[in-house]
Amino acid sequence: MLLSFFIYLYPANAQEEVEIPSGPFVMGEGEEVLLDHYTIDRFEVTHLEFKTVFPSHVYSRGQERHPVSQITWEEAQAYCGALGKRLPRAAEWEKAARGADGREFPWGETRNRNKPHPSYSGMVKRVVGYNKKDISPYGVRDMASSVWEWTADEAEGKKVARGGVWNLHLDYEYSKTTDQIEVDPSQRFIFVGFRCVSSRP
C-alpha cells in the first residue's frame, strides 16, 4: 500500500535528460568523430516508464525502477518515438559514455575491481543508478553495467547493442565504453534494454 503510494507520487516518465554538447570525441581506438548537440536519458528506461507507453507490459512487484528488458528493438524504438525521441546511434551512445577524452570506462581508465555480485552466474538487475561509480563524464549512469542497450546502428545484419551487464560467469565484468554486441532485433533477451536520445535544440 505504502509502496503503491510512493510509486503513484513518482512521475513515471520523468526521465532526466543530459545535455551532450556538440564537438569532437574519440571513438573506438582513436578515430575522431564530430557530433552535433543532443540529449540522452540519464538512466536506462525502467519497467514503470515502459508501462506508460505499453500498458500491457507486466513485471514483478518491486521491480518498477529496474531497467526494462526482454523487449524487441522495434518496441524500444516505438517507446522512444512515442516520447518524441529515438534510439541513440552507437556514436552518440559512446560519446555519452566516455566523454571527449577517449577513456576506457565511464569513470576513467581502470577496471572497477569491486565485484558487485561475486560467485553468481547470471543476470542481476538493480534499480537504475544503483552503481554509484558507473557514471560517465556527463553524468550518464549505468553505461558499463546493468543491461546492454539497443542502438540504431546495424552490423552483420543485426542491431548493435552497447553497454554491459553487472556480472557474468567468472571471467568478465564491466564493459569498456567501446564494447559492442550484435543482436537479432526480433529477439527478446533478459540482458538487453535501452535508453533514448533527442536532437531537439
Binding site: 560467485s119 553468481y120 552466474s121 547470471g122 543476470m123 546492454w148 543485426k158 547493442a161 554491459g164 551487464v165 557474468l168 560467469h169 567468472l170 571471467d171 568478465y172 554486441i181 550484435e182 543482436v183 537479432d184 529477439q187 533477451f189 533478459i190 540482458f191 538487453v192
Partner: protein, 244 residues
C-alpha cells in the same frame, strides 16, 4: 575444565564445517578439472565423463544412474493439462521429425556442436492440451536432476525435444532416450535422460539453481565462449544462441 570442553566443541564444530565446505566445493565450482577416466564405461551405470570420444563433447550429470532400458522407459506427462499421458519412445519417434545443428554451451566455459533430431513442443502440446493456467514444464530426469523451463522458451523455434544426435539414437551419456536442446540457454537448462514432465501453473526452479550460484533464467549472456571443436580458443559472443 569447562574452558577445555568449550574449546574442544568449537574445534570440532570448526573442523566439521571445514570438512563439509571441502565436500561442497566441487559442486559450487563445477569448472574444477576432474579425473579423465570414464568410470562408467562397461558398467550398467552412467555418469559425468570427459573420457575418450567425450573429450570432444563433455558429459555432465548430476548423479550417476542405471542405464535406461528404452523398451521399458515411459515419459509421464502430468500436471496442468487436459489429457495427461504415459508415452512410449516409439510414440515420440512417430511425431513429425525436425533436425537442427546447434551448439550447446555449458556454464562451465566449454561448448560443442552437433546435429540434433526430434520433435517440436507444439506436437506434445497438441496431444496433452495444456490448460490456460500452465506457464511451464518441470522436468524430472533419471539422474535425479530437476529443471524448469517456461512455455515461452519451450515453444521457441529453436527449442527441440531430442531423441537422435548426429544421425544416431542418443547415447546414454548424451541423455538417452529423450533430452531437451534449448540452444540459447546454458547447458544446465537443457535437461537430459528425461523420465517425467509436469505442466506447472507457477514458475519453479531447478537443481542447479537450488544448489549452486546459477540463475533461474540461464540465458547465455554476452561474454566468452571456449568451443571444444576449436581447441577451446576463447572468443567473444553476443549472448543468446551461438550460431557457428
Amino acid at each position: 575444565m569447562r574452558v577445555f570442553t568449550t574449546l574442544s566443541r568449537r574445534y570440532f564444530i570448526r573442523r566439521i564445517l571445514l570438512g563439509l565446505a571441502a565436500l561442497g566445493l566441487p559442486l559450487l565450482r563445477p569448472g574444477t578439472p576432474h579425473a579423465a577416466l570414464n568410470f562408467w564405461r562397461s558398467s550398467e551405470y552412467v555418469g559425468k565423463t570427459r573420457d575418450g570420444r567425450y573429450k570432444d563433447f563433455y558429459i555432465q550429470y548430476y548423479k550417476s544412474f542405471k542405464r535406461i532400458d528404452g523398451d521399458a522407459w515411459r515419459l509421464n506427462v502430468t500436471g496442468a493439462c487436459e489429457n495427461p499421458q504415459v508415452l512410449t519412445l516409439e510414440t515420440l519417434k512417430a511425431f513429425p521429425r525436425k533436425k537442427q545443428v546447434s551448439r550447446l554451451k555449458c556454464v562451465e566455459c566449454w561448448s560443442a556442436k552437433a546435429e540434433w533430431e526430434g520433435f517440436a513442443m507444439a506436437d506434445l502440446d497438441a496431444l496433452v492440451r495444456p490448460r490456460p493456467e500452465a506457464v511451464g514444464l518441470l522436468f524430472h530426469c533419471a539422474d535425479s536432476y530437476i529443471e524448469y523451463l517456461p512455455l515461452e522458451d519451450l515453444r521457441h523455434a529453436r527449442t527441440l525435444w531430442v531423441h537422435r544426435m548426429n544421425g544416431e539414437p542418443l547415447s546414454d551419456e548424451h541423455g538417452f532416450p529423450l533430452r531437451m536442446i534449448v540452444p540459447f540457454k546454458y547447458g544446465y537448462k537443457n535437461p537430459k535422460a528425461i523420465v517425467a514432465v509436469e505442466y506447472l501453473s507457477q514458475a519453479d526452479r531447478g537443481t542447479w539453481n537450488r544448489i549452486g550460484p546459477y540463475s533461474v533464467d540461464g540465458t547465455i549472456l554476452p561474454g566468452y565462449d571456449h568451443p571444444l571443436d576449436r581447441g577451446k580458443q576463447r572468443r567473444r559472443i553476443s549472448g543468446g544462441e551461438i550460431f557457428d
